[in-house]
Symmetry: C2
Subunit: 151 residues, 2 copies
DNA sequence: TATGACCTTGGAGTGCACTCCAAGCAAGCG
DNA sequence: CGCTTGCTTGGAGTGCACTCCAAGGTCATA
């Protein structure tokens, strides 16, 4: 689960690395959120959260003494990141691969970097495609605007 | 199959509107492409081309006397546009709706414009999201880069 | 004219990413 | 204690966008 003892005032978990400037709903120590709280925070459904866990996309969510899920601030950060990756169009299988690398520890830094750089290139390509499409849309919209007026 | 400059003058068709500056494989008059030619031009599969037609996403593809499809330059333009819409993430159902509006004629200019403007907003949103993700990726990549070196 | 590559159809199958279900246990409140 | 709402599970179902299949007809070339 945890790859580094690095209990460094929490703010720099090597698992998650370079934590986002996101503020958490509750401070560390009281971060034992139920699944429905996480649903409210992330916008994901409970189904999806359980499914993410089942397919290995979550780094081992803690449980209450009766077996109910208790999510941490770190889990929330991870879900934020996963959500970002999701909207790049990255397949879930690739995100699972990344999660595996995280579980394997620091020795996979290189491979993780490669994966992220490849994703970065994809994002750049996608942005370029979207820009291109935007130009086409603008042309057509202005056509409809002028024709709609002149007729 | 060379991309001949082609006399793009070819009367701006109201169906397609604001023709793209694309050059066609063959000039108008000789534009009766088989499905496999269109596969080569567009990168779509023959299956997908037939499926597009079945669901009403194509504006009536011409047929040879024996019933085989013969695509025109105009069909190619339409497919180009559809492909652009596709990569904005627009659902096929919405593209079919647009195709229906085109079939209904000039009276639907307003609605077509609305649809395209809504798509335009979606594209802008998506670009913003991707930029956001890019920032996260860059932070992580540079983390891996420096940590990968210093350890 | 024969051969083989290409084209036709309706309908069934695939892969992805969820999404839902049933049956049962858990938690908080009056 | 009973009630309601919430959480658990494995497995089945859904919706989208293709993707493929079988069985047969067509076309170009030798």
């Amino acid at each position: 689960m945890q790859t580094t003892p690095a209990d460094t005032a929490h703010t720099a978990p090597a698992d998650i690395c370079s934590a986002p400037p996101r503020s958490h709903p509750r401070p560390d120590g009281e971060d034992r959120y139920t699944i429905s709280e996480v649903v409210a925070f992330t916008g994901l459904t409970a189904h999806t959260l359980r499914w993410y866990e089942r397919i290995g996309l979550m780094p081992h969510v803690d449980r209450s003494h009766t077996g109910q899920r208790r999510y941490s601030n770190r889990d929330l950060d991870w879900l934020d990141f996963v959500t970002k990756l999701r909207l790049t169009g990255m397949p879930v299988a690739d995100m699972v691969r990344y999660a595996e690398l995280v579980r394997e520890g620091e020795s996979t830094y290189g491979e993780r970097k490669d994966l992220l750089e490849s994703t970065r290139r994809d994002v750049l390509t996608r942005i370029a495609e979207l820009r291109d499409t935007l130009a086409v849309l603008d042309t057509k919209i202005s056509f409809y605007a002028t024709e709609g007026i002149t007729r």
